[in-house]
Amino acid sequence: MTLTSSTERRASERVGRAVRGGRRLALRVIGAVVVLWGAATAAFLAQIALPGDRATAIFNIRAGQAQERTPEELAPIVDAFGLDDPVLLQYLHYIGGLLRGDLGTSYQQFRPVWDLIGEQLAATLTLTLAGIVLSWILMVAWVTLTAGRGGRFRNVGAAVDTIAAALPPYWLGILLLLVFALWLGWFPVMGGSGLIGILLPALTLAIPLAGFMGQSVRAEYEHTLDQPFVLSARMRGMGDLSVRLRHVLRHASLPAVTLTGWALGATISGAVIVEQIYSRPGIGKTLVSAVGAQDLPVVTGVVVLVAALYVVANVLVDIAYTLIDSRLRTS
């Protein structure tokens, strides 16, 4: 009897956990949908609010002359894209398209926004992921080297974090380009999408990010160094480096993991600048040129996509959290 009841109890616990898990998942999905809908709406409204007339912009870009246009000239464009529909109708049409997975057609390139973004996405993701990996390497190396050391060393470490975190990406990018590509000639000037070309752009993203993560990791790191389990590890005869990497880093890295989720979004916006400086293709550059061309479907498409990446990144961060800190799994 006891055996059966304990099995039942375990079963009901499992059901309870599954229900809680299911509810948490449902809340997450709803939250994600709300975020995406908000981003899509904000992007749409921002574009509608831009001064000037979209049909004129479409015509002028095709013509290469910026001037006023007659209604007759603009009529085919207005018809083709439904630009004279009430804004609400345009909005519903747009949201309806999103629900069907249709991001619309570019005003300028006459092709589906999906194709356009798909073509550019890989280059940007490669850049941002390389940037994040590099920033982790820089941050871990620098914090491990300097945190909790004697006075001056430690101060220099913290100061470098602060300075790095505050470096403006445009300035940093130009500086790296000037020094390493133009002056020293170690890297190509026109990086393009090639593998060689990625290091300087990735560094431009990684250095401020490493500084930013370093700031939050450092305090935690120094706090952890004083914990009893660190002392006991040392007493077991573990070397300093091994203690730092194996025990301390694991505890101290949680804030940086959280920041990485945020960083994925931040580096994608940072890519806008970096792609311009280094003449790389990517969605950042696509976004800039689409804003310039008032190509609304492309702008909103990129915004929705970046929002989606944010959402996915945050889910991944939650998972990483539970993996690193096993207490979260049982609680």
């Binding site: 870009i61 910026a66 300028q108 550019q120 170690w186 190509p188 000037v189 026109m190 990497l245």
Partner: protein
């Protein structure tokens, strides 16, 4: 054990990153000399489609579309797809004879029907610049037989054939235009040119590959048959300094638009420099003649007299950018009038006298002139980055400074691309000064820029909003004049008229410049707009 798994993954990830970086570095170090079959050309702006009415589109479509005629270095139209042409007595019918045996790269023939179709396609909006050139004159085009096209005009246009040499008039496959999607015709137009569009990696480059069956070079090309190089890697590099550095580092074989400040340095580096002064409307500033303060002719004159334009352009342009005094057409345009160009020299005393006489005789505490409590103020938006480059912006800043001396407050407003194209500063109530150029091969551009705007036939390209029947009539007579000397005299009269009424003033001539590596020979600038021609280009050791 989760922790060790994470650590392993982290270590693996960082190791992978390190490895790829090392690989990247060694690859950079071992970069072989460039492939002799590929020209790497760094251009500046990337268009949205490869064919259209913008000069950036003309530059690239020239590589893969042939025109009916080509302009030679003397400004004469010479055969290209067309062998010959003739004009009827009344000047209303042009008969154009095509070369036989030429095919588009989709295999369809370049015949009279396809050519006639292209005319109607441009006029229907397929090319908005071709459309304004033909507007007011073109009536119809018809195929008489396989290789003969007749173009009918509603009134004579003496330099009609010359106009057809700009790449806006590149001939495309009728079959491609009719059967393919807009997207396909945007991405890879089909012509009969020396190269074909192979691939467009947006944001990065266009790969053009040789048309091995090419038989139709223009009469002013330097060889026959297919091009020498197999591929052109046409990159888009917006930053001038990056383009120049790429040339110096040997990464690019040719680059477009060398910033004036880099010119001497590139020259000393042993690179071949090409400079083409664009004919047509120069970089000029027109006055909005419909509202105060520039609705008064004397105030317009005073503004021009306030400026030492020559000095400004020389200072900013390092002697590379030519000063242009003529507000109507540039010195590279046939029929250019020197008198109109020299009408206004720097004369602040005269400027002050004119302003005093016009009632702008008080100054406020900042030194700006005031009349009836109104400040002498002018809104001057300019299209930064799209139509006006960095050198142009510096020139406008100097204009602003100098005009301040005589008491003008100039509000210089850089306009971002999205506002530029949406026409944010294009209406009579939005600006006082407007800068801009418009390339053309002859003074017929005057008709486009100065024709009156009417209810039935508005002309928003008249950026001075200056509707003057007399000026329009002079220009129309010039366009239709049978004799070239008569025509030039009439175009001269129109330029004098524009100078007399001070409706616009010139600043500098727009340039099209190229820098070419000594490894690459045979690059030249085509004569209709100054874009690069790679058909004759080949590598030398």
């Amino acid at each position: 054990m989760a922790s060790s798994r994470i650590r392993r993954t982290l270590t693996a990830a960082s190791a992978a990153a390190m490895l790829s970086m090392l690989a990247a570095c060694s690859q950079a170090a071992a970069a072989a000399p460039q492939d002799d079959d590929t020209i790497v050309y760094a251009h500046q702006q990337e268009p949205q489609c490869l064919f259209g009415g913008w000069i950036e589109q003309a530059y690239i479509s020239y590589q893969f579309l042939d025109n009916l005629f080509s302009l030679d270095e003397n400004g004469e139209a010479v055969p290209w797809l067309a062998e010959d042409w003739s004009r009827s007595e009344d000047g209303l019918t042009y008969t154009i004879d095509l070369q036989s045996g030429v095919s588009f790269t989709d295999g369809t023939p370049v015949d009279a029907e396809a050519v006639a179709y292209n005319f109607d396609y441009w006029v229907a909006g397929g090319n908005s610049t071709a459309q304004v050139w033909l507007g007011g004159y073109y009536e119809s085009a018809e195929a008489i037989d396989d290789l003969t096209v007749e173009v009918h005009l509603s009134r004579p246009y003496t330099r009609f054939i010359e106009n057809l040499t700009q790449s806006y008039f590149g001939i495309q496959s009728q079959h491609a235009l009719e059967t393919r999607t807009d997207e396909e015709n945007c991405r890879a137009p089909i012509g009969s040119g020396a190269f074909v569009v192979d691939e467009w990696n947006r944001g990065e480059n266009v790969i053009l590959t040789r048309n091995d069956d090419y038989t139709s070079p223009p009469a002013n090309a330097r060889h026959d048959g297919p091009a020498y190089v197999k591929t052109i890697d046409w990159r888009f590099i917006p930053e001038g300094i990056t383009r120049v550095s790429a040339l110096k580092a040997g990464e690019a074989d040719a680059i477009y638009d060398i910033p004036a400040v880099e010119w001497a340095d590139v020259d000393e580096g042993g690179y071949e420099l090409h400079k083409y002064v664009t004919p047509g409307r120069p970089q000029q500033v027109s006055f909005n003649t419909t509202r105060a303060p520039f609705d008064e002719e004397d105030v317009r004159k005073a503004f021009i007299l306030s400026l030492d334009r020559k000095k400004i352009v020389e200072a900013v342009g390092y002697g590379v950018i030519p000063y242009e005094g003529n507000g109507a057409i540039s010195r590279a345009t046939p029929g250019y009038d020197e008198g109109a160009a020299e009408r206004y020299a720097f004369d602040p005393d005269e400027a002050n006298a004119l302003l005093d006489a016009a009632g702008w005789d008080e100054r406020d505490e900042q030194g700006y002139r005031v009349r009836d409590g109104e400040r002498l103020e002018a809104v001057f938006p300019y299209d930064a980055g799209t139509i006006i480059n960095a050198d142009g912006a510096s020139i406008f800043q100097a204009v602003q400074e100098q005009a301040r001396e005589t008491g003008f407050k100039v509000d210089l407003i850089p306009v971002a691309a999205s506002d530029t194209w949406s026409g944010a500063y294009s209406t009579p109530d939005s600006y006082d000064l407007k800068a801009g150029y418009w390339t053309s091969v002859n003074a017929g551009i005057l008709y486009i820029n100065w024709r009156q705007s009417t209810e039935d036939n508005p002309n928003f390209a008249n950026s001075a909003f200056y509707d003057d029947p007399e000026l329009e009539s002079i220009i129309e007579q010039a366009n239709s004049a049978g004799d070239i000397d008569d025509q030039n005299a009439l175009y001269g009269e129109a330029q004098e008229y524009i100078a007399d009424h001070a409706t616009s003033f010139g600043l500098y001539d727009r340039l099209s410049t190229l820098g070419v590596s000594p490894r690459l020979a045979g690059v030249w600038q085509e004569h209709a707009q100054g874009g690069p021609t790679f058909y004759d280009a080949h590598f030398v050791d």
